[in-house]
Amino acid sequence: MKLTLKIWRQENSNASGKFQTYQVSDVSPDMSFLEMIDVLNEKLIVKNEDPIAFDHDCREGICGMCSMVINGRPHGPLKGVTTCQLHMRSFKEGDTIVIEPWRANSFPVLKDLIVDRTAFDRVIASGGYISVNTGNAQDANNIPISKIDADEAFGSASCIGCGACVAACPNGSAMLFVSAKVNQLSKLPQGQPERNVRVLDMVAQMDKEGFGFCSNTGACEADCPKEISLTNIAALNRDYLKASLMDQ
């Protein structure tokens, strides 16, 4: 296949970026999207040009590192798929593909397609945990947990922290990400003692990081590669309301 790529190039966080056009040929339908960029980078390196900087690690859809907006959609056209799992058979001969970084106030661009997502880590550090020191635990089977609750907690916990939800949201809100963690821990008996303070602290940190408000557009759920459900946000709102009332 022959393709035209329009790729966002930006030297560093202070520089202003722009799109640059590249032609690629010999693209095999079996290549992954990132392998297609690898091949382009090889060519750039041989020509002594700066290769395109992008984040990636596991290349199997689980680490959450890869992050490209492809033709306007975070992680590209397919549902439930990360950028690294997208393959070139989803495109056809002669296509033009526009590739950009996540765009959100709280995720400044570091270089080309790489953004700074440490705001997510700070939100987790503000309360996305159960306070149990190593060695403090009782036997794992002492507290039975219904399979339904355990499965629901697992569903929320399968968020990979990629940030596509923020990039997809017109307000740059992090509600899907934050609510997935809040809801995972709220579903479990172990998470109850800190339930109220957790949701208050995490939402406060989220606001402090400059993420936008949630206006229920649902764009986050549509582009989430792990299909994290909007019901998490509804659950967070309930928990938040309850915790705020009790706090007063």
Partner: protein
């Protein structure tokens, strides 16, 4: 010359005795001792969180943008523990014995016994952190069995066990970061160990955003930097999993043990072309329901579904009737390579064998039909119900396969081929997990001690978390209790300066080569030599 420092006494009593006699560091002194942890996988995150909880000052380094993305996140299958929740005769001794036997009796017995003793604590700790393991309807934890064992002792969270365990450890680490007890350095790559008067006293790291070299001083350095599978170029490891940290430690005098022990996993998606950047594992659990075969005819170009039953060679079932498709990983891998080398391989590359679910899909379909009281169901109805059972068990893996290959494994058999997956060898460590360089430790896949010549499924996650949560917090006291009087080495010390210069010179030298080939080009070529000459089934004369 090497002293493994294995405590005296009965095997089963060594760890208990050790724990009650190892020197302690009092809380006031802990606050003055700084520990550097390289790597935020299961071993690194668990160690960093536990040491910080105990009161040490900790600095953690990882090259990803967040500690949550360490390679442990990709582990699929599960984690072993001798809980005996299934009442099937499991015990600490049995887990110890299976692990030793699985490693061809080449692992260090004292370490493996200790590993099996703490295995149950790991599950307790993870559940307390909110790790959502799979459960039965009664609300208790569910177990599955894994290759090489006769008991059900594997705990799991769908096909994402590594992710859930790592997110648990990451949450504990994040809590300490939030409290200021751990300072996190993400997007930093460690490039050298600083050794002062024979002891590890810090590292040189590079900020991957600014490119600047930094000096970090500490009273001990813990390498939790993972394995070296990517020396073969293609492997199931993440792209960034390189062996720089362990290699640099080796250059500074830390010895390497068993580097030849590499695990080649039999069920991975085969290479599709020169552009291939990594390989993807298809969980071992698939061999429970998939039958492995190749055509009986050499260079058979027919499609799988066009080859009649009597012209298929189920070579594992034929050669190993007792185990069939569930032979250990090394046997299955060698047999697949042998068949392909002999000209029976399938697919365009001919470097693959079939993993076929149709037989068991129909078997499950008939069981379902019986359950629902269907008389004389049509083959289509049977297949449909069978597909549903298979989807329930392996849905995510089937989706992943389809995504990568473009083929639907519900309709045509999967194509699989062995790939480099895990490295049993690593930095030599003593019972305390310390390398032969005092103050330099190696935990998790980075060390060599627990898996001998082969690793059983579900034992690497166990080892990483055991090392981090339950072993290093004790064993580090043996060294640090003697360091309480030595003040931190300032980073303008001559050794730090020399080490940074050494790193800078090397980087400059490489940059100024002005060559015409990329780094990947060399990695690929060297990896190919490794795979061809040091891969599966090597012979003495090569």
């Amino acid at each position: 010359m090497l002293d493994s420092k294995i405590p005296e006494g009965e095997l089963s009593q060594k760890w208990t005795k050790y724990k009650s006699s190892v020197p302690l560091v009092n809380p006031a002194n802990k606050r003055n001792l700084e520990v550097i942890v390289v790597g935020s996988g299961l071993a690194g995150s668990a160690a960093a969180a536990s040491l910080a909880e105990m009161g040490y000052k900790v600095k953690v380094f990882c090259f990803q943008d967040s500690p949550r993305r360490a390679h442990s996140i990709a582990a699929q299958g599960g984690i072993n523990a001798a809980k005996n929740y299934q009442n099937d005769g499991d015990s600490v001794y049995r887990l110890f014995y299976d692990t030793i036997k699985g490693g061809d009796y080449r692992a260090r017995e004292a370490n493996v016994h200790r590993l099996s003793e703490v295995s149950g604590n790991i599950i307790d700790q993870c559940v307390a952190q909110g790790v959502p393991f799979a459960r039965e309807y009664g609300g208790l934890l569910s177990n599955r069995s894994f290759g090489g064992t006769q008991v059900q002792r594997t705990f799991y969270a769908a096909g994402q066990t590594g992710q859930q365990l790592l997110l648990g450890a990451y949450s504990a680490l994040s809590r300490q970061i939030g409290m200021g007890a751990v300072k996190m350095y993400s997007r930093h790559e460690m490039l050298d160990v600083v050794v002062v008067d024979g002891k590890a006293k810090g590292i040189i790291a590079r900020d991957l955003v600014t490119g600047k070299l930094e000096r970090h001083s500490g009273h001990a350095v813990l390498l939790c930097s993972g394995g070296y599978g990517n020396v073969f170029y293609l492997s199931t490891n993440a792209m960034g999993s390189n062996v720089t940290a362990a290699w640099k430690a080796h250059k500074r005098g830390a010895l390497f043990a068993n580097p030849c022990f590499t695990q080649i996993h039999p069920t991975c998606i085969p290479v599709s072309g020169d552009h291939q950047s990594k390989l993807t594992l298809m969980s071992e659990s698939l061999r429970n329901d998939g039958r492995i075969w190749v055509p009986k005819l050499k260079n058979d170009n027919r499609k799988a579904n066009e080859i009649p039953e009597e012209e298929r060679d189920y070579y594992l079932e034929r050669r190993y009737p007792a185990f069939g498709n569930l032979v250990p990983r090394d046997v299955a891998s060698r047999a697949a390579k042998e068949r392909c080398d002999a000209g029976y391989g399938v697919g365009t590359s001919k470097m693959a064998v079939y993993l076929d679910f149709s037989f068991n899909m129909d078997r499950y379909g008939r069981i379902e039909a019986n359950k629902h009281g269907l008389n004389n169901p049509s083959p289509e109805e049977i297949r449909k119900m069978g597909k549903e059972v298979i989807a329930e068990k392996y849905g995510n893996l089937f989706d992943m396969y389809k995504q990568i290959t473009g083929e639907n494994p519900y309709e045509v058999p999967m194509r699989i081929y062995p790939a480099v997956h895990y490295t049993m060898g690593g930095l030599w460590v003593d019972y305390n997990l310390m390398t032969n360089v005092p103050g330099l430790y190696a935990l998790g896949e980075a060390n060599f001690s627990d898996h001998g010549a082969n690793r059983l499924g579900a034992s690497a996650l166990m080892q990483g978390l055991a090392d981090g949560y339950f072993i290093i917090p004790y064993t580090i006291g043996a060294y640090l209790s003697n360091e309480i009087r030595s003040a931190a080495i300032p980073t303008d010390h001559a050794e730090f300066v020399a080490c940074e210069d050494h790193v800078r010179n090397q980087l400059e030298r490489l940059k100024n080569v002005n060559g015409t080939k990329s780094v990947d080009h060399f990695h690929k070529s060297l990896g190919k030599i490794m795979w061809d000459k040091c891969g599966m089934g090597r012979k003495g004369e090569r």
